[in-house]
Every structure is written in C-alpha cells, then in structure tokens.
C-alpha cells in the first residue's frame, strides 16, 4: 500500500502538484481511516488531502483513474454465473477473493496444467493475476519508464515474471489432448498479453508523459527568448504567466507602517503605564499598503520582433497580477496598452499590438516624446520604470534628455535589453546614451533572466 501510494504521489508531483511530506502523511492517514475498500471514497479522501485547488483536484482525479486501474478481472473470468466478485479497488490491494470460490471448468479437470499461471487462467482467477501483474511491475520498476519505445520491453518482462514460459510449456504439452482446452488456454494467454500491454500503456501515461513535460519546461526556462520555436509558444506563454503570478504573489502586498491614521489605544496605554495612566505618548495604528507602482515600456519594433511577443506576454501577466501597472508599447511612436490588456485576452491583445506596430522600424526619440506627453507627469518617487528594448534607433536622435528626466523623477529606472551585452553600442544601438540614466541595466535573454531581475526589482520597490 505504502509503495503504491508513494509512486502515485511521485507521479502527481511530476504532473505539477506541489505535495509536501506532511501532505503525504495526511493522505496515508486518511486512507487508513476511510479504508481502501471503497474506491470512490479513497479517491475523495486523496483529493481532499493532496490537492489544494480545483485544477489540481481535476488532475488528481484523472491520474487516480489511470493509476489505480480497476483490475479487469472480468475479461479473464468468463463464467457468467459466477457470484458478483467485486473487482479489487487498488492494484496494490491484497487479493480479496482468491478466485477460490469459482469451480474450475470441467475441461480443466480433465487436464491438469502444471504452471501456476495456467492454473490461474483456467480457474478464472482474474484478481490474482492482476495482483501478480502489479507486483511484477513494481519489481521491475515500471515507474521508471521514460520513453514509449520501452513499452514492449516492459510488457515482455512482466509476462516473463508472471510465468509465461511455464505457460507456453503447458500449452505445448497439451498438443495431444483434445483441441478445446488448448485453444481456450491460448486465447486466454492472448487476452492476458493484451491486458499487460494495456496496463503498461496506462502506467506509461501516468509516469512518463509528465516527465517529458517537466524536462521540456526546465529546458525552456533557460533557452534564449529569440530562439524559442514556434510550437513551444503556447507552453512558453503558460510559463511566463506562471512566473508573473509567482512574482506578484511574493511581492504585491508589502506593507509599511506610516505615521498617519488612528490612535492605537492598546499601544498607547502600554506606553503610558509608567506615567500613571496619563496619556503622554501617543501611538498610532495605521499601516499603509505600499504596492509598487510600475510603468513599463516595451519595444515591439522589427529589431526585437522575435522577443517582443514574450515581453508583451510578461507585461500582460504583470498587469494582470499587480494593481498599478501602466503599460506602453512603442515602435516609432508610443501607445498606451494598459486598457487593451485589461479588456482583451492575452492572445488577442498581443496579436493586436503586434499587428498595429510590429515590424515597424523603431524610433526611440519620437517614442520618448510621446511617452513624455502621456505619462511623464505621473511618474513620481514611488514609480518604477521598466524599459524593455534594444535601443536600436536607426541613427536618429535618441532624446536621452527625456530619459534623464524620467530617471530624475522616478524611484528606479530599469532597462532590460534582449541583446547580448557585447552587441550593445554596435551598429545603430545607442545604449550608451541611456545607460547613465538608469538605476540598473541588464541583458535579459531568457525567462530565467526576466524572473531574476524582476523579482529583485519588486523586492526593493
């Protein structure tokens, strides 16, 4: 039981459920209390203890059905009038009815097979075989299965473990007995192989499918944004959104004690106990929510077109999770996109922005002038300004003076450049004219970079 549970939990973790040891213990205790005889109840108990949100609960229920396969004993017990033997609920469950109750079919009585497996097959002991199958799978570490090419190998090994060789020998020896039973046994062997294959297939789905996903995700975290393949876009968006949500939940509700607000009676009394109860010192209560105020500018011009999508995606997610974000996109002029982000879904919003401005040549000078007109007045000493862009200006005036003003008014200015540091200031890049007016300049090439930088930013703002 414990082993079955722990491999199940490993599989759940691979599917993305954060399950701690404490929860594992809870689940085991819950299973002990409710018992494992009622499949539905076991499922509910595990869902209650192991999953902590609706999406996770759905994943768990689906995995439960795949993992704790109802042993298909009906397929191997072909006696219609057999009393209703409830199929074992969990494969790791001890054999409940050993099939001993069912009478061996008359043909089997005429010929006595020697191998254990053949006996089980003849007597229709589906449960017993199912249990043996699961035990074999555990011995062979089926949960280590990684790629689909291993499926046949594992099926073969499980058959071996079940005693296939002895069964074959039996079948061969039966050559001289009447045709009926031999055919029957052969059919049953085929059915058994089918069942083993199904079982391996299901286990593969449980264990390996998500392993691949995990591998892919950790790989995507580190890959350069400009190199992400088209077919990974969807998964990447999910990752970006996850990252933004995580950042926001870590940082969005920082509080700071300020000097305004209501009188804190308790503290005042405590502070004045020494003065004979005369209210001498006052203590104030108010705490003020200090949420970071962020203005983000994102370059979407042709030169950064491959990265623009992700930068926008990140901006969108950030605005989704933080209360005070104003977002601007620019190529040759600047457009506020905060509202667009609020009204549309992420895919629509990003597509629309890229359609309006994507692939235009960038002009930082005129864009900054636009920005000055639209947002400069709102920048105060609590604002963090984030610029996502490569500073490739097509040899026009970069208007560094506006950026200087932004820098002077704001709390922090952060410039994230999707290009490698070595290519800054080469060609038409005018990074050096902005660098002095930034609190921090960082190359930002992968999702990991983006996470690291912004997490630091939110910590201090």
């Amino acid at each position: 039981m414990q082993k079955a549970m722990s491999t199940f939990i490993v599989a759940l973790r691979q599917a993305g459920l954060p399950i701690s040891q404490a929860e594992t213990l809870d689940a085991l205790r819950a299973a002990q209390i409710t018992g494992i005889s009622d499949r539905q109840q076991l499922k509910t108990s595990l869902a209650l203890t192991l999953s902590k949100s609706l999406p996770h609960q759905e994943i768990l229920e689906e995995m439960f059905d795949q993992y704790f396969v109802e042993p298909d004993s009906a397929r191997l017990t072909d006696e219609p009038d057999e009393p209703d033997e409830s199929p074992a609920d969990a494969p790791a469950d001890l054999p409940q009815g050993d099939g001993a109750s069912s009478e061996p079919p008359p043909e089997a009585a005429a010929f006595s097979p020697e191998s254990n497996l053949a006996k089980q097959l003849m007597s229709g002991d589906g449960d017993g075989i199912a249990v043996a199958m699961v035990a074999a799978a555990q011995d062979l570490n089926l949960s280590d299965i990684n790629v689909f090419t291993q499926k046949n190998l594992f099926s073969f090994r499980i058959m071996q473990q079940l005693g296939d060789e002895a069964l074959l020998a039996d079948i061969n020896r039966m050559a001289n007995t009447p045709v009926g039973p031999k055919q029957r046994l052969q059919e049953k062997r085929e059915q058994l192989r089918e069942q083993v294959r199904d079982f391996v297939e299901q286990q593969f789905l449980v264990h390996a499918k998500n392993k691949g996903l995990k591998l892919r995700e950790s790989f995507l975290q580190g890959v350069k944004l400009s190199n992400v393949e088209f077919h990974d876009y969807a998964r990447m968006s999910e990752l970006v959104r996850k990252a933004a949500r995580k950042l926001a939940s870590q940082h969005s509700r920082r509080k700071k004690v300020s000097k305004r607000g209501m009188l804190d009676v308790r503290k005042t009394l405590a502070a004045n106990a020494a003065f004979d109860g005369v209210q001498f010192h006052t203590r104030w209560k108010a705490t003020k929510v200090d949420r970071p105020k962020i203005i983000a500018l994102c370059d979407v011009s042709g030169s950064v077109s491959r990265v623009a999508r992700f930068l926008l995606l990140f901006l969108y997610s950030l605005q989704d999770v933080l209360p005070k974000v104003r977002s601007f996109a620019f190529a040759s002029n600047t457009l506020e996109v905060s509202e667009l982000f609020e009204q549309k879904t992420v895919a629509e919003a990003v597509a629309e922005i890229l359609q309006i401005m994507g692939n235009m040549s960038s002009n930082y000078g005129s864009s900054l002038e636009d920005f000055q007109a639209q947002a400069l007045r709102q920048i105060d000493n609590k604002t963090t300004v984030i610029m996502l862009g490569d500073a490739r200006n097509n040899n026009a005036d970069g208007r560094g003076d506006i950026w200087q003003q932004v820098y002077r008014q704001s709390r922090r200015v952060l410039w994230l450049n999707p290009e490698n540091e070595r290519s800054w200031n080469t060609g038409d890049s005018i990074m050096s004219s902005y660098t002095p007016y930034c609190s921090q300049v960082e190359p930002c090439q992968t999702l990991d970079d983006l996470n690291r930088i912004l997490s630091r930013l939110l910590k201090y703002s």
Binding site: P18, S20, A22, E23, D26, R29, A30, I33, T34, Q40, Q41, T44, S45, A47, L48, T49, S51, K52, S53, L54, Q57, R245, S249, R253, K255, V265, R266, L269, A273, D276, G277
Partner: protein, 311 residues
C-alpha cells in the same frame, strides 16, 4: 471533540444521511470531508462559487454535533485585536486608580526604594491577566470546554498577515498571547475556512487544511435540495426549475445563479401559485435568479429557446 462524538462520526455515509435529516443535502465528497476533518483533526478549507452552501455546512455541522458555532467574518484590516483578544482598557485604567489608592497601605513601613519595589512585586500583578482579557472568536473557540465549530468565513478577504497569524492556530490549535503565554485548546475545535477565491491563498495555509471544492450541484442533487427546502413544489415543476437553472449556468453570465437563488426562486413561485413554468412567469421572476441587469438583458431574449430545449 471527536471523543465525545465518536458515535455520531462513525462513517461518511452516516454523516451524509444525518445531514439529510437536518435538511442539508450533500454529496459524498462533502460528507467524507467532514468525516476526515474530524478524524484527522485538521481544518477544512472550503472553496466554491458563492451560494453553494459553504457557510451552511459549518452551521449544520455545529447543529449536528450540538456544539456552539463560533463564526468569524474576515475583512480587510482584520487584526488579532478583533480576532483573538483585546484588553479591557477601561477596567485596566480603573484598576490602576484602585491600586494607587491602596499604594499607601502596601508601602507603609517600607524602608528605602529597594524594599518598596520588592513589596510592589509581591503585590501580584493582575494588570495583564485573564481577568482583563476580552475574548474574541478565536480565543472563545479554543477555550470552549465542550469543543466548538469555528467558522472562519471568507478568509480570502483578510490580509496576508492575518493568514500567517492563523497558521499556529490551524496546525497546533494554540495561540500565543505575548503578555500571558501560549493558550492551548481545551478541546480541539472543528475549524472550517471558506474562501471565494478573490485572491490566491498562501501555500502554508493550504498545506495545513483539507481542501474541499463544492461545485454547483448536479441537477439530481439540486432537485433533492429543493425538495427538502421547499417541499410544496411538485416534482414536474421542480425538474423544470432545476433544468432551467443548470441551463443558465452554461451561459457566460456575470454572476451565475447558485443553489440559494434556486431555492429563493422556488419559494417565490410557490407564493405566486405557479404550477408550470412558462415564458411569462420567467420574465417576471428572472430578477430573483440573476443579480445584474446585464445578465437579465442577456437572458431575456433566450428564454423561449431555453424553455423549448427542456421540452
């Protein structure tokens, strides 16, 4: 708590049928959750759309175990002074006055400052003692002799700091009061937290709780709920009602009608003596189901179609 009620908490199915006797029709998952919460002595975090009976579950559990229900409504700015304890400042001030009057008697004959201070220490300090403690819901729940059901309603509305403050209570059933020390539960209460998901709760909190999601009930279950709450409704009308409401839940509305709305609606139709659901009645009573004008405007042109679908 569990020891006193062992016979009432024998199995989930027993809970389910007994809740039914109290007029609370619940799914097996809900009954299992309550059962496990009592057996494992862990809090339950209940999530789900508004109006599916999250708060009701706590009430019925308290009623069933015939123990007091202590309810704490969370809101932004809730702090421990309102949730856990507060000192009775007025009385404390009076006490200091009394103390001052008696000071002469206590100090009579003392020589030197050292001796005076020593006598003062002997006098016994009750300024911060249980006598001046104003108990708030959490402390009440911990100190209830016979155990209690503690309902922490809409925990998502409280601040994150408050959530962190709850952790000690939820895992060890104890709280620390700086002036007094640690207060342990006399009898571990059954704790239920509800959340409407207005914000993501912290992992630490979730880890300490069982997680129960109550979805909108299946039509069959909802019919049984209506039957128990509004017994006068005839079976045909009941089926129509429930089918219509579950159709509405498929639409993209601002606020989906929940069980409580279905019950209200059924009651209203009973008062109006409606025997069969038709478009005219629907027009008139739609505002009982839908709480936003936009939703009503969205549904009104669809009424005929939705009704025909059932036919």
């Amino acid at each position: 708590m569990i020891i006193q009620h062992r016979e009432k908490l024998a199995s989930p199915s027993m809970l389910q049928s007994n809740f039914e006797g109290l007029g609370y029709i619940c799914s097996e998952a809900i009954a299992t959750a309550v059962y496990l919460a009592c057996q494992l002595q862990k809090p339950i975090l209940i999530e789900g759309p508004p109006g599916v009976g999250k708060t009701e579950l706590a009430k019925k559990t308290a009623e069933y175990l015939s123990s007091p229900l202590i309810r704490m409504q969370c809101y932004e700015g809730l702090d421990e002074a309102k949730a856990l304890y507060e000192w009775k400042y007025g009385k404390q001030l009076l006490y200091t006055q009394v103390l001052k009057d008696q000071l002469g008697d206590v100090m009579r004959g003392a020589r030197g400052l050292d001796e005076s201070v020593q006598r003062l220490h002997q006098f016994g300090d009750i300024f911060y003692s249980e006598q001046f403690l104003e108990r708030r819901p959490l402390l009440q729940a911990l100190q209830a002799e016979e155990g209690a059901v503690l309902l922490i309603d809409e925990i998502d509305k409280a601040d994150q700091e408050f959530e962190a403050f709850l952790l000690e209570l939820l895992s060890d059933y104890q709280v620390s009061i700086p002036e007094i020390g640690t207060v342990k539960a006399r009898s571990k209460p059954i704790v239920m937290l509800t959340s409407n998901n207005t914000r993501e709760l912290g992992d630490a909190l979730k880890r300490r709780c069982l997680h129960l999601y109550i979805p909108f009930p299946e039509p069959e279950l909802e019919e049984r709920i209506i039957a128990s709450q509004v017994p006068d409704v005839e079976a045909d009308l009941r089926r129509q009602l429930v089918a219509f409401v579950s159709e509405l839940r498929e639409m993209s509305l601002k606020k989906l009608p929940a069980v409580s709305e279905t019950i209200d609606w059924a009651r209203a139709l009973m008062l109006l003596n409606v025997k069969e659901l038709d478009a005219a009645w629907l027009q008139d009573t739609l505002n009982l189901l839908l709480k936003f004008q936009e939703d009503i405007e969205l549904v009104q042109p669809e009424i005929k179609r939705l009704l025909n679908k059932q036919g």
